[in-house]
Point group: C2
Chain length 189, copies 2
DNA sequence: GACTCACTGTACCGATTGGTACAATGTCGG
DNA sequence: CCGACATTGTACCAATCGGTACAGTGAGTC
């Protein structure tokens, strides 16, 4: 009965969307099954640890994406400003200009945080640290760079919340525009 | 069998804490009952509309608190800077310096937003509008005041997320300190 | 003392929850 | 062609979900 097994990455992307929209508690196996068109048999074959393993895998997948597309450029780009610019564009693209919400940020808010505390802390921690590094290399003093990085990551998270609350995508793009200026980037791309 | 009926405000505060910690889906009637020490009979007596009415009442209660302690001072204070200072302190106190999370912000993230969309939009909308008004009266140009207000409210929401993710209260107090400067307030209280 | 009515505990409802067990179905390497 | 194994649907499980029904129970009122 072997079917066209979806690539694990595709599968994780679909499951991520369910968690994103419904939260950890709200994402029932029925919803996940419907979204992936996979029965419980398949779901528990791929994720023997059940819902918790699914969530863990989804977080790791997102983390990997940010590692490749955001953290690495911040860390490795010879031109720190270029890395920061890259981060802003990747962020805008990942969150679909505010249409999408940050799964990991959402998990951080309710009690599901306790289950995934390490992964959540690592994700945001690395984001702040690598951004601070790039800011430092682009001329900011260390302490100032750390504060600015923390402010920037928080601004993104807050803008996602506010954009969804207001149901207005412009909230997010305005936030990114301000962020550009604040981080010392040219206004327009 | 009439017992000491808790004040409705106290009751709502307890229920709010359950929603805050577990989210709308995660807050089961069993949890709410345990926290309030009220059986289903009592719960459905006070909230015939069930869980949804409880959440609606809780949001309204929080909204009322912010109306009295944040929005009104921003709107009515003869000295706009004083109103803004008042907002910062009320915010710090309400969120217990980052120990607490914003219920309404959390609801905005997942699908429960659709149920309470109007209340959520109104809450954040009024916060931004009244802060923008105070900023305008304290000398900012209208457009600039609106952007700054939006930035400030988003910064608070983002800081709450980040503080909980990092499990580090200092994240929140640092954010409030930056906010003071950004809004043109003296550094220390 | 009778009546009222806000309040409460308990039993119960069907639906859904996350999870398990397993037999069937293929696909693939040999 | 065969056996191994990845993948699947289905049936099933106890626990819990949100919600209803209702018979009390008692404090206040006349």
């Amino acid at each position: 009965m072997r079917r066209i097994a979806p690539e694990r990455a595709d599968l994780l992307a679909i499951v991520a969307e369910v968690f994103r929209e419904h939260g950890y508690e709200g994402a029932s196996l029925a919803l996940i099954g419907a979204a992936t068109r996979l029965g419980k048999g398949s779901l528990y074959h791929f994720f023997p640890g059940g819902k918790e393993e699914m969530a863990r895998a989804v977080i790791a997948h997102i983390d990997g994406w940010f590692e490749d597309n955001v953290f690495a450029p911040l860390r490795d780009s010879p031109d720190p400003r270029g890395g920061i610019e890259h981060m802003i564009e990747a962020t805008d693209s990942y969150f679909r200009s505010g249409r999408r919400v940050c799964l990991i940020g959402a998990f951080a808010l309710d009690e599901s945080r306790d289950l995934f505390a390490d992964q959540i802390r690592s994700y945001f921690g690395r984001w702040v640290v690598h951004l601070a590094g790039a800011l430092e290399r682009s001329g900011h003093r260390p302490g100032e760079a750390s504060e600015l990085a923390e402010e920037a990551v928080a601004a993104i998270q807050g803008a996602l919340t506010l954009a969804r609350a207001a149901n207005d995508l412009d909230v997010f793009s305005r936030a990114l525009r301000r962020l550009r200026l604040r981080l010392g980037l040219p206004a327009k791309t």
